[in-house]
């Protein structure tokens, strides 16, 4: 199955986003142009309120742009769909379903028409095993920890075999140790699946560690892409080794300089 990876797998062309609120209109994004290569891991970083999540919601199709076009695998993005799976910040698991049922709901939706029940069950089990949760399949979301919930969220998204995985601050609500553990696991999983991913984050270390490219956004209103930093660190990446790596620290300081020198945000 060797084929050339598409250069412009996900495309954003002159995308503007204006929200109509009760207080009037609000220009959230202005002139966003971005090409994402197939199999690439992209991070979008910026100060809070700069519209990072809006970019993600546009790619997922939960929002429609005011102007401009979005494409995924050559097709225009018109509405949400399982080929662009989302890992939500607050996991968004359905509390009345077990972990297994939460994943199965997604699997059934995507593969239910073409596969037998046992195949669907196997897919669900495999997805939960991938995130290391085989022991907690019959638990409800409120019976497991925050980190485990997020794992189920990732399992649910990956089980759909999406073309693009969208992660909206996936580890934002977790403590530092759990976060580090999940980042390492996400790296392994992404290496295995080779799936294209777009992650919104406000964590500089997370962005540098996980990404191939970091998209840095200017401050809103009318936020746009300030710079794109290519992270040319070799994979697999090791957290501890990188901590003393000069190039890693250089990249890290590049992001920090962008965020705190060129586009510093005044404390509210």
């Amino acid at each position: 199955m060797e084929r050339k990876l598409q250069e412009k797998y996900v495309q954003l062309e002159n995308v503007d986003m204006t929200f109509v609120t009760k207080k009037g209109t609000f220009d959230a994004l202005k002139g966003i142009n971005l090409n994402i290569k197939e199999g690439e891991f992209i991070s979008i970083i910026g100060h809070s309120g700069c519209g990072k999540s809006t970019v993600l919601n546009l790619i997922s199709g939960l929002l429609t742009p005011t102007a401009g076009n979005l494409f995924c695998a050559g097709r225009e993005i018109a509405k949400p769909g399982p080929e662009r799976a989302v890992v939500f910040q607050n996991h968004s698991l359905l509390p009345w379903l077990t972990c297994y049922e939460n994943v199965y709901l997604a699997v059934d939706r995507v593969f239910g028409e073409s596969e037998s029940k046992s195949q669907l069950e196997a897919r669900t089990k495999a997805a939960l095993e991938l995130v290391g949760l085989s022991h907690a399949t019959e638990k409800r979301p409120n019976e497991i920890s925050g980190g485990m919930k997020q794992r189920v969220g990732i399992a649910r998204a990956l089980a759909m075999e999406p073309k693009v995985l969208l992660l909206d601050e996936p580890f934002g609500a977790l403590d530092a140790l759990t976060r580090a553990g999940l980042q390492d696991e996400l790296m392994k999983i992404m290496a295995k699946s080779g799936c294209t991913a777009v992650m919104v984050t406000h964590d500089v270390d997370e962005a540098v560690l996980l990404s191939d490219k970091i998209v840095m956004m200017t401050n809103g209103p009318a936020a746009t892409i300030g710079e794109v930093l290519t992270v040319d660190l070799e994979r697999p990446r090791k957290r501890l080794e990188l901590a003393e790596d000069a190039h890693y620290n250089h990249l890290r300081s590049e992001v920090l300089k962008f965020l705190y020198e060129r586009h510093a945000k005044k404390a509210a």
Binding site: G81, A85, N90, L94, R109
Partner: protein, 325 residues
């Protein structure tokens, strides 16, 4: 200085006294007991003002029966207030009945009740049946009216909650009709159905439907956007959205509506039956009033109260059973 050591020893004793045998719960009862200990020990210690290592062991040994006593005390603290309330009510009732001419006292009423309930299911003629048949007839009317209200109201609530347009369309109608007294609908029912029994059921239907519509709609409109986003990303069908997301989320709201509805229905049936006649607890009350059998009216009040309570409690249990939390 002395105060400090006394306090230390007292807490030490509390700790030791708790250690063997009895469970270290933090229930009010054990808190109370340790507080008591504190106070009493402090007093003796202040009085003696020497080191009292010997006393520690005596406290430990006398502790166990004390706990049983505390539990007994707590049980009584739990049952005494309601019993006192009922006794007080009976006393006031006796006092009033003693003063007034027609009102029978508790004892006379109780005697009448034993006779009444000795044969609850007799049928002498269509207008003279046992109390059991009266209750069952009323319950059947409530069940029919309430059941139809649920069949119409709950799906309607879903639609209204799901679609903003429907919500805005029905809002003025619901706000206008909801506060109308249920009995005002009775003449309409009599006119349309040309019979008393369906009219009574119609009144139950129309009064029981509002809480179910409104609570279901509120529940649906409160479904977190996160869950709906999941539905959108997964491209779930409308059927799956309803069964996997809306219904489980809305169920607690819906059950609140159902509980309120059954309460209203049972309230209304007595009044409706008084007007429509036939076999039923409401008309029975009216009948006994015409017979000037006041004992039976009081018994009916108690029956209506008890049945209403049972209906609500039953539904509360059902709601708990179906709740996902």
């Amino acid at each position: 200085m002395t105060a400090l050591t006394i306090k230390n020893i007292a807490t030490l004793k509390g700790g030791i006294a708790h250690a063997p045998g009895d469970t270290p719960t933090s229930s009010p009862e054990s808190m109370d007991s340790s507080m008591d200990n504190h106070v009493s020990e402090k007093v003796t210690l202040v009085a003696a003002n020497t080191d009292n290592m010997a006393q520690i062991s005596t406290v430990a040994s006398t502790k166990k029966p004390n706990v049983a006593l505390q539990m007994l005390r707590q049980f009584f603290a739990w049952v005494i207030p309601p019993i006192m309330g009922i006794l007080l009510m009976l006393a006031v009732w006796s006092l009033i009945s003693y003063q007034s001419q027609g009102l029978p006292g508790p004892i006379a009423t109780f005697k009448a009740a034993t006779i009444l309930f000795s044969d609850p299911f007799y049928i002498n003629n269509p207008n003279d049946v046992g109390i059991g048949w009266n209750i069952l007839n009323s319950l059947q009317r409530v069940a029919t009216g309430f059941g139809m209200a649920a069949l119409v109201g709950i799906p309607l609530g879903f639609i209204i909650g799901r679609y903003e347009f429907m919500s805005r369309m029905t809002a003025p109608i619901i706000s206008l009709l909801k506060p109308v007294s249920p009995l005002a609908w009775l003449p309409i029912g009599l006119l349309v159905f040309k019979a008393a029994n369906p009219a009574a059921i119609w009144v139950i239907f129309i009064s029981a439907i509002w809480p179910m519509i409104i609570n279901t709609a509120v529940g649906v409109s409160k479904v977190p956007q996160d869950y709906m986003n999941v539905a959108k990303v997964l491209n779930l069908s409308e059927w799956k959205i309803v069964t996997k997301i809306l219904f489980p989320y809305v169920l607690p709201y819906m059950m609140t509506g159902v509980r309120l509805s059954i309460g209203v229905a049972w309230l209304v049936i007595v009044a409706a039956e008084m007007l429509t006649g036939g076999v039923g607890i409401g008309f029975w009350v009216w009948d006994e009033w015409n017979n000037l059998n006041v004992e039976h009216i009081i018994i009916a009040i108690v029956i209506v109260g008890v049945v209403g309570l049972l209906l609500e409690q039953g539904l509360t249990l059902l709601a708990k059973r179906f709740s996902y939390e």
